[in-house]
């Protein structure tokens, strides 16, 4: 995703969570309430994440409910502004093609 926004200044990602794994729930809460991309990077890198106070305001159930109501079954899932859906990891070049609707 970083490669995508470096190449394309007209693309922005809004990152939301679909908590699938039990182990990451606490991490997700802290990342979500801080909205910190650094913490998100750390989580991907399997580094320890600080448990923040604001985490208590975040509801895992609500996150799960939203994702399910949209018919999302897997992560990562991308939703383009026209409503198109893509699930699964792809290379940045492919990702750009998907976002542009060329794929």
């Amino acid at each position: 995703m970083k490669a995508v926004i470096e190449k394309r200044k007209d693309i922005v990602f809004y990152i939301k969570f679909f908590p699938i794994k039990k182990e990451t729930q606490e991490q997700i809460k802290s990342i979500a309430c801080s909205k910190s991309l650094t913490m998100l990077d750390d989580a991907y890198a399997k580094k320890d994440i600080a448990v923040l106070d604001c985490a208590k305001n975040i509801s895992i159930e609500k996150m799960t409910e939203l994702a399910k109501s949209l018919g999302i079954r897997a992560v990562p899932t991308l939703i383009m502004s026209d409503g198109r859906i893509h699930s699964g990891y792809v290379q940045s070049e492919q990702l750009i093609e998907i976002i542009d609707g060329r794929r």
Binding site: Y14, I15, I72
Partner: protein, 153 residues
């Protein structure tokens, strides 16, 4: 003499061919799968809605009803809580079938392919996704907004 014999054979051939064509016609009427199934079997949206109701699944949205690749089964495309899939209903409308149809010739899972196509056609109502709580990567004023659902770690 030769002419008469030829005539005789020609007449025999004629009778034989009439006979064969009559037989073929009879076979067509009585035989299986010789005609388009839709000439004898019908199903409509209401039928499927009734079936779903009986199965306590009336919340399921019917997207399309057509003949399945298996003669004897209708293919119903449906959506349930945003998830799309296929269910089959037999011509008698007494049985619903869930599961995969696999082409013996190609080995292709026809049901899975259909479900993937349905998913590809699906569109999410983006206005239903609150973005005020999302992490933002990139320029928030960028024209192409992409929402990503993830679970790190």
């Amino acid at each position: 003499m030769i002419n008469i014999r030829m005539l005789f054979f020609a007449a025999m051939f004629f009778v034989l061919s009439i006979n064969l064509s009559v037989q073929a016609k009879t076979n067509g009427i009585e035989g299986c799968g010789a005609k388009d199934c839709k000439e004898c079997h019908k199903i409509n949206r209401q039928d499927v809605e009734d079936i779903f109701k009986k199965l306590n699944a009336k919340h399921i949205r019917i997207l399309d009803i057509r003949m399945s690749p298996v003669k004897g089964l209708w293919e119903v495309s449906m959506e349930d809580k945003g998830q799309r899939g296929v269910i089959y209903i037999d011509f008698s409308k007494n049985y619903a079938v869930t599961g995969s149809i696999i082409s013996v010739q190609t080995g292709l899972n026809v049901t899975q392919k259909k479900a993937e196509e349905l998913e590809k056609d699906r569109r999410v109502d983006v206005s239903k996704i609150p973005l005020n709580d999302a992490l933002i990567m990139g320029n928030p004023k960028a024209s192409k907004k992409v929402v990503m659902f993830t679970d790190p770690g």
